[in-house]
Amino acid sequence: MNRWIRRQPIRRKVTLLIGAASVLALLLTGIAVALYDHTAYRPRALRDAKTQAELIMVNSVAALQFHDQDAMRENLATLRSRPEILSATLFDANGSVQARYAPRGAPAPPSPLVPGASFLPGRLVLIDRISVDSELVGWLSLQYAVPPLWRRLPQYGIMVAVVLLALSSAGFLLLGMLGRSVTAPLLRLAGAAREITQTGNYRLQVPPRSGDEIGQLTEAFNRMVTTVAEQQVALRQNEARLRLALDVARLDAWVLDLPQDGPPPLEPLLARVSPADRAAVAAQIGAAIDERSGFKLEFRAAGDPSEERWTAFRGQVYRDEATGTSRLIGVAQDVTDQRRTEQQLIQSQRMEAIGNLAGGIAHDFNNLLTAIIGYLSFVQRRLPPDTPVREDLTEVERAARRAAALTSQLLSYARRQMVVPASVDLNATVSGLTPMVRRLVGEDVEVVTELAETDGSVRVDPGQLEQVLLNLVANARDAMPSGGALRLRTRHVALTSAAARGIPEARPGQYLALEVEDSGVGMSPEIQARIFEPFFTTKPPGAGTGLGLAMCYGIVRQADGLILVESEPGRGTRFSVLLPREGAESSESAPAVLPAAIPGRETVLLVEDDPTVRSVTSRILRELGYTVLEAGSTAEARSVAAAAAARIDILLTDVVMPGGSGRELADAMTQTHPGLPVVFMSGYTADVILRQGIVHDKVTLLSKPFSADALADTLRKALDHPARPG
């Protein structure tokens, strides 16, 4: 019943209310009528009866005294106008009937005449004495009709009808007012709400037309709509911001509704996965859904198989406790570049590790080779010119020099080669080497040079630059066994920050590029990824050392440059060597032509921790005529210098030694011996020393292993053209 009422429209509720109130009012009216009847009607009837009796008595008293029964009857007959009087009887003083009025045959009055009033069923009986001058002259008995309430009710019908009519009119009036002031505004509100929901027009406002609850409701509705509109705007802004953020981050958000049971509909997600990885991705996502956990996975994206793209999914299962439904929410991101960078980083780290290993080995080898070559020269000098052993020894020396070349290449790759950077004009270098390049590649290969119009130069060890160029040319030749075209190109390259980010180890800036391009067989990406590794080669065993490109890589990197390769199988390969461009600066004058190995008379302080190297070096110097003071460490060198009777003319020192570096020793010695020339000899230059600035144009360096002639030349040059401390 309650539920039924709640479902009814307000108008019907009010109608019901009014109906109920009317019925109640009618009921109350009925009760009131009954009460009124009981409390007012009977006394009124009694009063009326007494008045009537009084009238009859007054009119009949004379007739009674004079026994005029006709007069009495006439008198009583006037009661005809009072239908409620059932009967009236006059008695004389003795109680005998004198006159009687009973138009409808009313019951006889009670015979013992006792004055008083008594209500009998349906009537009121009134008996009174009639007296004159205190003497009894007769009696009156009056019967007054008091009909039961139910018979009198019709009298109240009019009253009830009036009440009913008033209530109905009031009800209809109220309904009309209700329609105007309640239902209509409510319907307007409902209509506005419907329109807003359908059209999304949140600027819609309902004008409040009253200050009552409906008006308040309208205002609250308007406020709510405004709030919702503001929230919508904020939501859209947030959404746009989020979309922008996702866009910038190259993120693509997705949502997947998961069914309560049954397999998750992964098709939309799997459509982005390459067929090869689809099964694995489906399995991983399925597992994450089962565990209600998050997942992150990378896979090859569906699409053009020639261009491999990688995508990462990051997702999480969210369960809505309110609805009991689950959703898989996540983002997709193209991680191809990231992966490439990561792989490049791994590659460069691997190269670094290999370099460290190779450098260490080469260092020790150099010391050994220095001794071998040194002692070979002693042996050769002592042997008579025509001994057959000399040829064998020459072979030994050639092998030793090949070993030295190998370690040198290793050190180049490891960036531990002693370098003497200078300003180099790339165009001049290419032009100068072109004839040699033509010879190197043979007649089947056409050599084209394209030189950029530039006045810039690069800072690099010129000999190393030549090594790099010739190495690349040799590789190009090998890639074109049946001939082709070789292009040597220089050009200016500006590396922007964005471009630099795509290349590992690259720094933005101005570069000069030396490009070596062939039309040969080309390389697969897998080979391209490894070509700079030492000992990696595609050539048949014995045809290459696997160190050529590794060396090029090391040299270029040591000069803060980049070496890039672009290749396509069957189309050819292009190597680009990018070197930081230097402001226009006159290139170092070509090394002076050294005089032939010249003996010397000066005193040399030789500092070398390796006894073999020290011994062979000392012996070469002495044979050249130098006076040699030997020391195995920097500490010893100082004490030797302090104790030396003669003047020390030159310091020849190893760079890296336990107990103190050659650099420190040189600094200390030049303090006590101003103008003392210093020659560093080293198997490699440790990065730390390079960064400390020990190596610069004015310092003389001697690379291990060195020949007796190289040692003689270097010393002579240092003694005759003392380096200015810089």
Binding site: A71, S111, D133
Partner: protein
């Protein structure tokens, strides 16, 4: 049962009346005596007719023949409009000065004389027979349908300064209709 008791009571009353008539005067005289008293209750005398508010109403009965005794018995202890009632027996017309009501029986010879003597005072004159009114009387007993009724000449009463109540006038028989004197 009640009806039975009522019947017994009625029989007892009738028995009492029958017993009373043996010693009491004739019914006519008793009725007339009672009527005389009743008349005084419906007539208004001029204020000068009474010396004060407690002064008695004097009913004068001329002649004898037992009526005066009946009247005396009838009025004994009764009052008219609050005043005591007294029987006066004037022996001559000159002695009617105190009378408020004078009954002149038809038997007496000098009715006209009495009436003439009464013209000077405000007294209600009551006689017998319709001709009493023609003589100048005010109320006359007559017999109609075996009961004692009366005629009234209101003009005469007014002329004497008396006001007869309309209630009494209404009970009076219509003049002119036949009626023998009692």
């Amino acid at each position: 049962m009640i009806r039975g008791v009522g019947l017994l009571l009625a029989l007892a009353l009738m028995a009492a009346q029958a017993a009373a008539q043996d010693t009491l005067p004739a019914p006519d005289q008793a009725v007339k005596a009672a009527y005389l008293l009743s008349f005084t209750r419906y007539v208004e005398w001029p204020a000068a007719a009474f010396s004060d508010s407690a002064a008695p109403v004097n009913i004068c009965v001329v002649g004898d023949e037992g009526l005066p005794d009946v009247v005396r018995q009838t009025i004994d202890g009764r009052r008219s409009r609050g005043r005591p009632v007294r029987l006066v027996r004037p022996d001559a017309p000159a002695h009617v000065g105190d009378c408020h009501l004078v009954f002149l029986p038809a038997r007496i010879q000098s009715i006209d004389r009495w009436l003439a003597a009464l013209r000077t005072i405000s007294a209600l004159t009551v006689g017998e027979g319709a001709e009493f009114l023609q003589r100048g009387g005010m109320i006359a007993f007559i017999i109609r349908e075996q009961t004692i009724r009366f005629l009234i000449d209101d003009q005469a009463a007014r002329a004497a300064g008396l006001r007869i109540s309309s209630r009494l006038l209404a009970l009076a028989a219509r003049p002119g209709s036949a009626g023998a004197p009692p």
